[in-house]
């Protein structure tokens, strides 16, 4: 049985840096960008521990602005 | 039949889709007749008694925005409540018809007839720069005829149209020939006539949005200017009026609605007394037939604006004639309908006092 791996793609220009995804992620994958801001001056969500992502979509579901797309794949060993 | 009943019959016959209203004297027969006739079983027309005039006009807003032929009716205090919705309809460019069977005010006032909502009707009525088309029937026949006309104009220009009646015309019984039967429009016909309407986006178009809101001043100004252009077009094309014995007249009565009927009798009485009087009856109060009145009033010795109010249309008569002839007002208040004799006496008084030329 393979391991489930996930990955997220953040529409950083749409992100408002509200942090709700950071709190919702069960694996602490996401943090807000440290020094960089987007076109609207907001820090944005970044997958800082991408290898830990399980593709549960919690971040996408709680995101008020629909910025996060979530992918999930069963990896063969 | 009564004027109010004629409205109900005419609405069903001209293919109206819905009525939303709230009872108020002296126009409750409109909804009562509709309820009695049960058009939902024949033409499929919706009839709904709302919780208030505010709700009624907003139901009209919703249904009109969805492309339907809908109307409401009320009397003065109720129409005052509707002004919010009418202003939104004007802003969102929605066609819809509303009927005001006027009674005296201010406030609760009286349930007796009046024409004291002239200012409100002809100056938009609610907030913002807008007008509504105002048709003033002076007979039960015209109550019936103006229903279809009001819808036609409302849809032609995408704006609210009003039938400004009063307690006399609404309650009066007269013979009437009802307008021919028109079927209600099909979905395809509505889609064609109202490509802007909100009844479900089809894959061939972008979503439609009905709104009067625009936060950008530059864009809002363009919207305002677009409305003004439309109003100019209405002024050019839709002025309606009637004249009687104006050609040889020395004096003119200007009157609309029930006051025009009484003035017609007064004109005859005056002529029996040797006073050559003509009658000018504006049928559209907005747009007001100002050019036509100006031309007719030229060289007359005096113009008497006869109204069942404290003097409202007289301002438009003065604007139209802009000082070229003496203009005075005669009116009764409190729900009292003037006698023809009183009108003739007022004319004589104006001549005697020198306000009118002898």
């Amino acid at each position: 049985m393979g391991k489930i791996k996930g990955s997220i793609v953040v529409n950083t220009d749409r992100c408002k840096g509200c942090s709700l995804c950071v709190v919702a992620c069960p694996k602490d994958v996401i943090a807000l960008s440290d020094k960089h801001v987007n076109v609207n001056g907001y820090p944005y969500a970044v997958a800082v521990r991408p290898d830990d992502c399980i593709g549960c979509a919690s971040c996408g579901i709680v995101c008020p602005d629909g910025c996060i797309s979530v992918y999930k794949k069963r990896m063969e060993d | 039949m009564k004027g109010n009943e004629a409205i109900a019959h005419a609405a069903i016959r001209c293919g109206c889709d819905a009525y939303f209203g709230y009872p108020i004297t002296p126009q409750s027969e409109v909804i009562e007749t509709l309820a009695e006739l049960k058009p939902w079983e024949t033409t499929g027309m919706v009839v709904l008694q709302a919780e208030s005039e505010v709700a009624s006009i907003n139901m009209v807003y919703g249904a009109a925005g969805a492309g339907k032929k809908v109307f409401t009716s009320s009397s003065s205090p109720g129409v005052a409540l509707m002004q919010e919705g009418i202003s939104y309809m004007a802003g969102a460019e929605l066609p819809g018809v509303f009927i005001n069977v006027q009674r005296g005010g201010p406030g609760l006032g009286t349930i007796q007839p009046s024409q004291s909502d002239y200012f409100q009707s002809t100056r938009g009525g609610g907030n913002g720069d807008y007008y509504v088309i105002v048709l003033a029937p002076s007979s039960v026949q015209e109550m019936a005829d103006f229903m279809d006309l009001a819808f036609t104009l409302a849809f032609k220009y995408r704006m609210p149209a009003m039938i400004l009646s009063d307690g006399v015309i609404g309650q009066m019984m007269e013979k009437v020939v009802l307008p021919p039967v028109k079927p209600r429009r099909t979905e395809e016909e509505i889609k064609k006539e109202c490509p802007w309407a909100t009844f479900g986006r089809t894959p061939d178009r972008k979503p439609n949005i009905i709104t009067s809101l625009e936060l950008q001043p530059e864009v809002m100004e363009i919207r305002n200017q677009k409305l003004l252009k439309k109003y100019e077009l209405v002024k050019e094309n839709e002025v309606r009026y009637e004249t009687s014995q104006c050609e040889d007249a020395d004096y003119l009565f200007v009157a609309f609605g029930s006051a025009a009927r009484i003035s017609e009798k007064a004109m005859e009485l005056a002529r029996e007394d040797g006073l050559k009087v003509g009658l000018f009856r504006p049928i559209t109060l907005w747009p007001f037939p100002d050019k036509q009145l100006e031309a007719l009033a030229k060289g007359k010795k005096g113009v008497l604006s006869v109204e069942i109010n404290a003097g409202q249309m007289v301002e438009d008569v003065r604007l139209a004639t802009h000082g070229t002839v003496p203009v005075e007002h005669f009116g009764r208040l409190g729900g009292i309908v003037p006698d023809p004799e009183e009108i003739v006496n007022s004319l004589k008084e104006n001549i005697k006092s020198g306000r009118f030329n002898g």
């Binding site: 996408g60 709680v62 797309s69 999930k72 794949k73 | 249904a63 009844f199 972008k206 009905i210």
Partner: protein, 255 residues
């Protein structure tokens, strides 16, 4: 490896396609965005894109029509249920819903709301209750909690000065015209899933002609509450749920 995962066949979540790319004007973390997504998802999943007509209110969500690509009618303050009545009565096979805040629904539009629900109009009312007036800058709402501070009750709401908070959803549950009345929230993944189910249930009931539904979403207004989005969710759970308990208040759909 990341490249292997990010492929169309592996997509498990994205912004609903009915929600367009126009950036939403809401403050960061605002509940409105989540509820907008749910509405868009449900309409999409029901395949009602071409039959749905939304009625937006006056308040923060006045511009709801900019974000979800269906037909919308923008109502005067509080009149959305009357506008929806007009549309639904004339187009009975359309999916008609209103989206209203607490000022719109529970204050200026109380009459329109109660009467539309009581007539059993086959519409859904989505009620965003964040206990404050967001758009005009954080004034007291009819739903503001006792003791809660707003710019028009800066020392906290007191019954003597301001009266009591109004539980519109409880009132709605007593009306004969309603078939489904529920209070939900969107503060956690589980809550969001539950709220989505509620919206779907209500929309379906309206299409089956079962009467009116009211779906209250007890929400946050972090700007108005002067809290961070995360803290606002905590305050919601601590304070709001106590006075506005979650769950179904009425469900006669399956009877």
């Amino acid at each position: 490896m990341k490249e292997d995962i990010i492929a169309p066949e592996n997509l498990v979540y994205e912004k609903p396609s009915l929600m367009n790319d126009t950036p939403m004007h809401y403050c960061p973390g605002c509940s409105h965005g989540v509820v907008h997504k749910l509405v868009a998802e449900v309409i999409e999943e029901m395949g009602m894109q071409d039959k749905a007509v939304g009625v937006s209110p006056v308040g923060c969500s006045v511009f709801a029509y900019r974000y979800i690509d269906i037909d919308w009618s923008e109502a005067a303050h509080g009149r959305a249920p009357a506008v929806a009545t007009g549309i639904k009565r004339c187009w009975p096979d359309r999916l008609v819903f209103t989206y209203q805040g607490d000022g719109d629904l529970a204050c200026i539009g109380t009459a329109e709301t109660i009467h539309a629900l009581n007539r059993g109009e086959n519409i859904t009312i989505i009620f965003i209750n964040n206990a404050i007036y967001g758009m005009t800058g954080g004034q007291m709402a009819p739903t503001t909690l006792l003791g809660q501070k707003t710019v028009t009750c800066p020392y906290g709401r007191t019954p003597e000065l301001h009266g009591y908070p109004l539980k519109m959803t409880e009132i709605a549950a007593t009306l004969q015209g309603t078939c489904y009345v529920t209070r939900q929230s969107v503060d956690t993944v589980a809550a969001i899933r539950s709220a989505k189910k509620a919206i779907r249930k209500a929309f379906e009931a309206s299409m089956q002609g079962k009467g009116s539904s009211l779906v209250e979403i007890t929400s946050t207004c972090n700007s108005g509450w002067k809290l961070s989005p995360v803290k606002a969710n905590e305050w919601l759970r601590e304070k709001m749920f106590e006075f506005y308990p979650k769950g179904d208040l009425k469900n006669t759909i399956d009877e």
